[in-house]
C-alpha cells in the first residue's frame, strides 16, 4: 500500500468539500502524491415520484450534481497547486439507475462504505479520506455512517476523517 496514493470519497456535501480542502492543504505542492476523487452514486428512490419521467429527471439532476461536484473538487485541488496528472475523478454509477450505463463497475447501493473500501483495496490506495456528518448514534443506526463504517472496517490503509 502506498500512503501517498490517496482516495477521497465524496458526495456533493459541504463535509466532502472540507475533506477535499484538507487533502489539498496537506499534499498540494508536495511531489509523489496521487489523489483520486471517488463518488459512489446514490440516486433518489424511484417510488418517491409520481411517475417514471419525474424519477428519471430527478436522477438526471442528481447525477449532474455529483459530476459537477467531482469536477469542482478536481479544479479546487488544481487551484491549490496539484498537477493535472496527480488528480483523477472516479464516478461509480448506481447499478439500478434508469440510464442503462455500460460501465465495467456499478454500485449496488447496499453499502457505500464497503464499496469505497473495495476501491481502496483494488486500487492499492494507502490512504482513504472521508468527511464526517456528525450523526447521533440513533441517526447513524438508521441512516448509516460512512465514516464510522470505514474507520471500523478499513484494513491495511490509513483513514482520515475530516470534520
Amino acid at each position: 500500500m502506498n500512503p501517498r496514493k490517496i482516495l477521497v470519497a465524496v458526495d456533493a456535501s459541504a463535509n466532502a468539500l472540507r475533506a477535499i480542502d484538507y487533502v489539498g492543504e496537506v499534499v498540494a505542492g508536495r511531489p509523489g502524491f496521487k489523489v483520486r476523487l471517488l463518488c459512489i452514486e446514490q440516486l433518489p428512490h424511484r417510488d418517491l415520484f409520481e411517475n417514471e419521467e419525474s424519477w428519471v429527471q430527478a436522477c438526471r439532476n442528481g447525477r449532474a450534481e455529483f459530476e459537477d461536484f467531482l469536477e469542482q473538487g478536481r479544479e479546487r485541488l488544481l487551484a491549490m497547486g496539484m498537477n493535472e496528472e496527480e488528480v483523477e475523478k472516479n464516478y461509480v454509477a448506481f447499478c439500478h439507475s434508469p440510464f442503462n450505463d455500460q460501465t465495467s463497475r456499478c454500485s449496488m447501493g447496499t453499502s457505500v462504505a464497503l464499496e469505497i473500501l473495495e476501491t481502496v483495496k483494488s486500487g492499492g490506495f494507502g490512504t482513504v479520506v472521508v468527511g464526517r456528518r456528525g450523526l447521533s448514534k440513533a441517526e447513524e443506526f438508521l441512516f448509516g455512517s460512512v465514516s464510522n463504517k470505514i474507520v471500523h472496517s478499513a484494513r491495511d490503509c490509513t483513514v482520515w476523517v475530516v470534520s
Binding site: 446514490q42 433518489p44 428512490h45 424511484r46 417510488d47 418517491l48 447499478c95 439500478h96 449496488m108 447501493g109 447496499t110 453499502s111 457505500v112 462504505a113 464497503l114 448514534k137 440513533a138 441517526e139 447513524e140 443506526f141 438508521l142 441512516f143 448509516g144 455512517s145 460512512v146 464510522n148 463504517k149 471500523h152 472496517s153
Partner: protein, 325 residues
C-alpha cells in the same frame, strides 16, 4: 344489465342471497365505498368482496379499507385485492422521523420479482378501467411466525434448548429473502415480525406486504435491517426485552445504557445479561443493534455472515442428549 350481473354472480356463487349482491365495480378509485357483496372486475375476472382486511396491532383491530378479502367467481379461489391508496407520511421511530410512502408500483414490481420465490407472498397486478394498479394476492394459509414462536411452551431456557435452533434456521432463510430484494435494488419497506408468516403446508417463512417505501438515501436498506434486528431480538428473547417483562430477573440489576437499542431506549438488546447461556457470537449479532455498538450492519449479508455460524452453537433438539438411552 344489473339483472344479468346478479344472475352471473348467482351462477358462480349460488349460496349468496340475491339481495346481498351489491354493485359491479370496474373503477376502484373510491375504495371506501366498496364493501361486502360488491364485485370488482379486473383483468377478465370477477372478485366478490367479502370484507375489509384488518391487522391486529397492540391489541386493536386496524382496518385496511383499501385491502379487500375476496373470492374469485371464476376460479372459486380466495384472493386479497389491494386497491390503490396513495399515502405519504412520516414514520416516528424512537426520536427519528423518516419520510415514508405507500406505493402500488413498488409492490407490483416486487410481486413480479418474487413470482417463483417461495419465501414471499405471491400475486400479480392489473389495472382497473380507471388505471389504478390493483394487486391480486394469494392467501397464505398459515400463522404469523412471531405468534408461532410466542405459543411455544416452557420458559426461556426450555425454549432455548428445544426450539431456538429451528426458529433461527427459519429466520436466516427469511433474512436471505430480504437480502435477495436488496440485491435487486428493492426495499421490503415494512420488515416487522408480524409480516413474516409461517406457511402451514411447507413450514417455510413467507414475507408479505411490500408496498411501503422510505427515504434513507445514504443507507437505503437501514430500516429493513432495523426490522430484521427487532425480529431477531424477539426470536432470541422470546419477547423478554422490555423492562416490565425483565424487571426483577437475575442479571437485570447490572444493565448498562449501552445494552439497549439506540432507537427504542427501553428495549434491551444485550440479552446475555439475562440469559447467560446465549452463545456469545449470537449475542454479538444482537449487540450490533445496541447503543454500545461501535459499528452497525450495513447489509443483510454482513449480518448473515455472523449469524449463520451461530446455528451450530445452539442446542440441537434432534440430537440425543449425552447419557440418554
Amino acid at each position: 344489465m344489473e339483472q344479468d350481473f346478479r344472475d352471473f354472480v348467482l351462477e358462480h356463487m349460488p349460496h349468496i342471497e340475491r339481495r346481498r349482491i351489491g354493485g359491479l365495480y370496474t373503477d376502484t378509485t373510491d375504495f371506501t365505498s366498496i364493501g361486502y357483496g360488491d364485485v370488482i372486475r379486473l383483468a377478465d375476472r370477477h372478485y366478490m368482496v367479502l370484507r375489509d382486511e384488518a391487522e391486529r396491532r397492540f391489541g386493536i383491530e386496524d382496518f385496511k379499507f383499501w385491502v379487500k378479502r375476496c373470492r374469485c367467481l371464476e376460479t372459486k379461489e380466495p384472493a386479497i385485492l389491494k386497491l390503490v391508496f396513495h399515502e405519504e407520511f412520516t414514520q416516528q421511530i424512537g426520536s427519528m422521523r423518516i419520510r415514508s410512502f405507500r406505493s402500488a408500483t413498488k409492490e407490483a414490481r416486487i410481486l413480479d420479482l418474487v413470482r417463483d420465490d417461495p419465501r414471499f407472498m405471491h400475486g400479480f397486478s392489473a389495472r382497473d378501467e380507471a388505471g389504478n394498479l390493483v394487486r391480486v394476492l394469494e392467501v397464505i394459509r398459515g400463522k404469523r411466525f412471531d405468534e408461532v414462536v410466542d405459543a411455544l411452551p416452557g420458559d426461556h431456557a426450555f425454549y432455548f434448548h428445544n426450539n431456538l435452533r429451528p426458529v433461527l434456521n427459519t429466520f436466516i432463510d427469511a433474512c436471505e429473502a430480504i437480502g435477495f430484494l436488496h440485491q435487486h435494488g428493492e426495499q421490503h419497506g415494512d420488515v416487522r415480525r408480524d409480516h413474516l408468516w409461517m406457511e402451514t403446508s411447507t413450514g417455510r417463512g413467507r414475507w408479505l406486504d411490500f408496498d411501503y417505501a422510505y427515504e434513507t438515501r445514504a443507507n437505503p436498506f437501514g430500516l429493513d435491517l432495523y426490522g430484521l434486528g427487532n425480529s431477531l431480538l424477539f426470536l432470541v428473547g422470546k419477547r423478554i426485552y422490555t423492562p416490565h417483562v425483565f424487571e426483577g430477573m437475575e442479571g437485570s440489576e447490572a444493565l448498562q445504557p449501552g445494552d439497549f437499542s439506540p432507537v427504542i431506549r427501553n428495549r434491551l438488546v444485550n440479552l446475555r445479561r439475562l440469559f447467560p447461556y446465549i452463545p456469545k457470537p449470537l449475542n454479538n449479532v444482537l449487540l450490533h443493534f445496541s447503543e454500545g455498538a461501535e459499528t452497525f450492519y450495513d447489509s443483510v449479508d454482513e449480518m448473515l455472515f455472523e449469524l449463520r455460524p451461530c446455528l451450530d452453537l445452539l442446542p440441537n433438539p434432534q440430537e440425543p442428549k449425552e447419557g440418554a438411552p
